[in-house]
């Protein structure tokens, strides 16, 4: 693992983002709009005196944490698309860059993206809605780390599908993560789901995180079991998905797809 080559890939994306208005919108504009819309919804619910205990706390906290997952996934999938659109994959994979270094670079990129978006949303929530995400307490750190890993898992899965099936699959870079949203129980408790879906949701790490967040906010207790489940599942899935990516990369090289992806 060569840090110089990982740094080279990061530098390439820094150059891209500093000059691209569209990419900056993706980091700042959409998260801000999300926050505005959900902020008003929560204010409305609070004014209605809804039976939702701490609606503002639930919804805005969930939204900020969901964006951690979403941006982490996009950090990986979109960086592959950027290389595909720029017809740069051959330059990268005919260089000494290894698949592992490529993955680590995209993961590091997703951390940068999440940090930028998360900081901004946290600040806006504080300014506009007097909402402080840090009220979640120390559990926030493992929550964010786990959501980051979940985002990587979905991002690597998405990238491997795009690499294998080409441009026709690129819409997954935006859509794949939403497949997991209903069973991640972002904005509602897991008990709302039908029983069969509840069983599936327990196998989804973000569901444990969002349940854990509600536990902290409702009872103030540290959700140890949820965090243990989320971390164990994440590590297991990450191992499987990275192995799957290596395998897909090999299949693409066998079938000559790597040099044609994006055509």
């Amino acid at each position: 693992m060569d840090p110089g080559r990982i740094g080279a890939l990061l530098l390439r994306h820094v150059y891209l983002y500093k000059r691209s208005f569209a990419r900056m919108l993706e980091v700042f504009y959409w998260p801000f709009l999300d926050l505005v819309v959900w902020g008003f919804i929560t204010i409305y619910l609070a004014r209605q005196g809804a039976q939702l205990h701490g609606a503002v706390t639930f919804f805005l906290g969930a939204l900020i944490l969901w964006d951690v997952l979403f941006r982490a996934q996009q950090g990986i999938a979109l960086s592959f698309l950027e290389e595909m659109w720029a017809r740069n994959l051959m330059n990268l994979f005919a260089s000494p860059l290894t698949v592992g270094e490529y993955l680590v670079a995209t993961m590091a990129l997703s951390v940068l993206k999440v940090s930028a978006v998360g900081s901004l949303m946290t600040l806006f929530a504080l300014i506009f809605y007097d909402y402080d995400i840090f009220m979640i307490g120390v559990a926030l750190v493992p929550f964010v780390l786990n959501l980051l890993i979940s985002g990587w898992i979905i991002g690597v899965l998405t990238t491997s599908i795009i690499m294998r099936f080409g441009q026709q699959a690129e819409v997954l870079a935006w859509g794949m993560v939403f497949l997991f949203q209903p069973i991640s129980c972002v904005f509602y408790p897991l008990e709302v789901l039908p029983t069969a879906l509840q069983h599936i949701a327990w196998l989804v790490p973000p569901a444990h995180i969002f349940e854990g967040m509600r536990t902290v906010l409702l009872s103030g207790t540290f959700p140890q079991a949820h965090l243990l489940w989320a971390t164990s599942l994440n590590l297991a899935y990450l191992t499987v998905i990275v192995a799957w990516f290596y395998r897909t990369f090999q299949v693409c090289k066998d079938r000559g797809l790597l040099v044609r992806v994006g055509e």
Partner: protein, 242 residues
């Protein structure tokens, strides 16, 4: 011990029953320029992609600098680069930014000096701060060539490197390649559809047809073997047999 820096043995590639490259073997010696000729679909680009580790061969071995490419990919590719009319570089970066990223990817030292040198050598001073998306096709070819020669390769694969260049720049590029070959003992595998260029540049020619090597030798030897007047006639004869 062989002075070959590239040793290809029994290399073949099949895609779903179609044989793109059919059991070819050849060497490239240190400092040698080998022309890879053949009509469209003959297997030239697939061969280059296998030599770059982008396509896995169905059979055969590729050794460079005495190392097996499949087992020592990183070490081998550090000293290999390529340029092609068919590749691009990230459009949103300037020429210099693209070169800097490539320099770091190959672990070069004294990056700024290397960039300055290659920009000067390929007469790119006027475009070094230009966005890549604003380059003409000829300027883009120069950029991909610059990224290839900047990384101090020992082996260079060039797929029609002068295809979109005007004659003046094309001549300069060829002169630069010959110069680097002389000074750095660079080995080059070269494809082009310009037969005069092939004769001028290549020490030896490998003629591919339907994935197989049908002729190998100096341009003169290949012409004589097929009983034609020049390389262009040989090319036309083989292409029309297709």
């Amino acid at each position: 011990m062989s002075s070959a820096v590239v040793e290809v043995r029994n290399l073949s590639k099949r895609f779903n029953g179609f044989t793109a490259v059919d059991h070819i073997s050849f060497d490239i010696a240190e400092g040698e320029i080998v022309g890879l000729l053949g009509p469209n679909g003959a297997g030239k680009t697939t061969t280059i992609h296998m030599l770059l580790g982008l396509i896995t061969p169905t059979t055969g071995t590729i050794r460079m600098f005495g190392m097996d490419l499949a087992r020592h990919r990183e070490a081998v590719l550090r000293y290999v680069n390529f340029s092609s009319t068919y590749i691009s570089m990230p459009y949103s970066l300037t020429v210099e930014e693209n070169l800097r990223v490539i320099a770091k990817l190959y672990g070069l030292r004294h990056v700024q000096q290397k960039i300055d040198d290659v920009v000067k050598k390929l007469e790119m001073e006027d475009i070094r701060h230009k966005l890549t998306r604003k380059l003409s096709s000829g300027q883009m070819s120069r950029l991909t060539l610059a990224k290839a020669v900047m990384t101090e390769p020992k082996v260079l694969f060039l797929d029609e490197p002068t295809a979109s260049l005007d004659p003046d720049i094309a001549n300069k590029i060829k002169a630069i390649l010959k110069d680097i070959r002389r000074s750095e003992r660079l080995s080059i595998l070269y494809t082009s559809h310009n037969m005069k260029e092939m004769e001028e540049m290549s020490d030896r020619i490998i003629f591919l047809q339907r994935g197989r090597i049908v002729a190998e030798g100096t341009a003169q030897e290949v012409v004589e073997r097929f009983g034609q007047r020049d390389l262009e006639e040989v090319f036309l004869k083989l292409a029309r047999e297709k």
